[in-house]
Symmetry: C2
Subunit: 365 residues, 2 copies
């Protein structure tokens, strides 16, 4: 009964938690693709006030046509809404509508909706199935792969959450047509990251194709998403719960999280903070002799070409150090950084305070 | 370096999530038993205003003597405090004190503290290790085995949570000396349940020893705890995430949860509601012809002998049905009940409405 899909399918191999990622144009127009991953009678779609008006009715109709009873929750949009109040709004609705533990939750939106809905699915009645339908480049290349879910706490980003894998990820690249330029650039930050930490040839390809990506060339975007998901899935497969290797995916994030927390969530987009954070991490890698000055400049140029910020906000030295200290990668009281050694490979290590301060000094100017 | 312990040790066999349960007198007086399960430098003890004054200083001193840095959180006591506000108080403290992801959380208290701390451990930075130190009979025989963690929602008990296994459970039976009589009886409800659903010989033993148990005879209590943990661990081993068999552990709980929610959490103790719920489930089993009238009476007599309520509160028929409908065991829109068929064995099934109404009618009088 299922129509053959034109989507490219990747498999994230995690034993009995394995799942497929579908990448392609107009996947939300295919009548069966989402519905066949809803195993029970009921689905609960969580979306926001920006994405909802664009795609919610369509997705709801598809599911209803497949005989599913559909509950919907529309949350306010924004990183600052990735909090307990939004999570409670989801639980309140699920319970008021008596959703049972076989209800499949569907995240329709970007990373905030995906992370929050994933954590809601992990926690509702101690776990219900869920499907990711990422509608931003950032969430298609990053947060829909890897099972990290969660919400922010006033004292730190993603501090409350779970590792919880979806049943399927459906990345409809047509949804990127409605994405604001600023968010497209934010998504490119994570694409660049995947090249920088693990695949120098992909980094080269991004440099060569940055204008096509910014111009939303469908083939270029599809390749960038595919390669990013492959790289991330491969890392996650080796280290699902971030015991070691997986931490390299946080390249640029220790600085980036400090920027987000220091300015207040939502001031900079996550991808913007990560873009700037990668420039800082490359600078730190250079100061420690792991990459040359030219490579550090290459990173800065590519981040800039992607229309992302390369100058860090001046939060004040003590505030910077304090914000980085509480980051989750801080273990046993010592801040660890993910550094390039060289471009296309990475190391995780504590760094001398003077090098860190020099990087802060250099990147804030 | 570890002193040999006089504790009885059970192993809960869950593959790489296996853990030991230690049962015995004065275990909190042993210098190394708790500390050796704290693998990192830091521990965070969560307790309440009732248990804290009795055991917190002692446990904290033991851990500090073993070189651990100890954070403490003292929550208000009571089932009505098993909510998001208490959970946030834990997260607020952990983050304010910059606890890292290698911090071991320790639940020192009864089921509320255990469930809440377990969920905090499951969710803090997407999961940190935790140890259960149950100090009530109920938590020693029930909530410390099986990995169910969570908090209540105004619309339902334990609606938000996770399956998350501890590193170890340390059940110091000496802590039962300070337990109020009413809570001792509440714990016996779950002991009776374990006999009723799976082990008729244990049910006989409880009938024969109910007075020794109420008199807190140490040998009788130790055996009741041991056999309860064995039975529950065996069920959980076969069905960790409650896909099927494990649901039998909810015997009496569909009625019991309705009582707790209908009266407001904390009005009846959980064990009191389960005790009455078992009488109702036995009555329903009798009405469906699965057990005889004499067996239904045996259940009622034993629950009464344990000084637990056997007459259900009159919540009103519609309220009863509504409260049972939202129970987590309700799947696909149909209420399922765990019934005795016969005593010492159980079945899970939907029931005819008229039999259910007859049971409500009979048990509310």
């Amino acid at each position: 009964m299922n129509k053959p899909t034109s989507a490219l399918t990747l498999h994230v191999d995690l034993g009995d938690r394995s799942y497929p990622i579908f990448i392609g144009q107009s996947l939300l127009a295919e009548p069966e693709l989402v519905a066949r991953h809803v195993t029970g009678r009921r689905a609960a779609i969580v979306t926001n006030t920006t994405v909802g008006p664009l795609y919610l009715d369509k997705l709801k109709a598809l599911l209803q046509a497949a005989g599913k009873q559909v509950t919907t929750v529309v949350l306010p949009d924004g990183e600052e809404e990735k909090n307990w109040a939004s999570l409670m709004q989801v639980f309140d609705t699920l319970l008021a509508e008596k959703c049972d533990r076989k209800t499949t939750m569907i995240a329709l939106g970007g990373g905030v909706i995906g992370d929050l809905t994933g954590f809601a699915a992990a926690s509702y009645m101690r776990g219900v199935p869920f499907i990711q339908v990422p509608t931003t480049l950032l969430s298609q290349v990053d947060s829909s792969v890897g099972g990290k879910t969660g919400i922010n706490h006033p004292l730190g980003k993603n501090m409350i959450g779970a590792f919880y894998q979806p049943q399927a990820v459906i990345a409809d690249t047509t949804t990127l047509d409605t994405l604001p330029d600023r968010e497209l650039s934010a998504g490119l930050a994570e694409v660049i990251k995947h090249g920088a930490i693990i695949d120098p040839a992909f980094f080269d390809w991004i440099e060569a194709n940055i204008n096509q990506l910014l111009a939303r060339d469908p083939a270029a975007l599809a390749y960038a998403i595919q390669r990013s998901c492959e790289i991330k899935a491969d890392v996650v497969r080796q280290d699902e719960r971030e015991g070691g290797l997986r931490a390299i995916l946080n390249f640029g994030h220790t600085f980036g999280h400090a920027i987000e927390a220091g300015l207040g969530y939502g001031e900079w987009l996550h991808g913007e903070a990560v873009g700037c954070g990668m420039v800082m991490a490359a600078d730190l890698s250079y100061r420690l002799g792991f990459i040359g000055a030219a490579t550090s400049e290459r990173m800065k140029s590519l981040v800039k070409a992607a229309r992302l910020p390369v100058v860090a906000p001046d939060l004040g030295r003590d505030c910077w150090l304090d914000l980085m200290e509480v980051d989750k990668k801080n273990e046993g009281g010592q801040i660890k950084f993910i550094l390039l050694k060289p471009l296309g490979a990475s190391v995780i290590m504590p760094v001398p305070q003077d090098a860190l301060l020099a990087t802060l000094e250099a990147c804030i100017r």
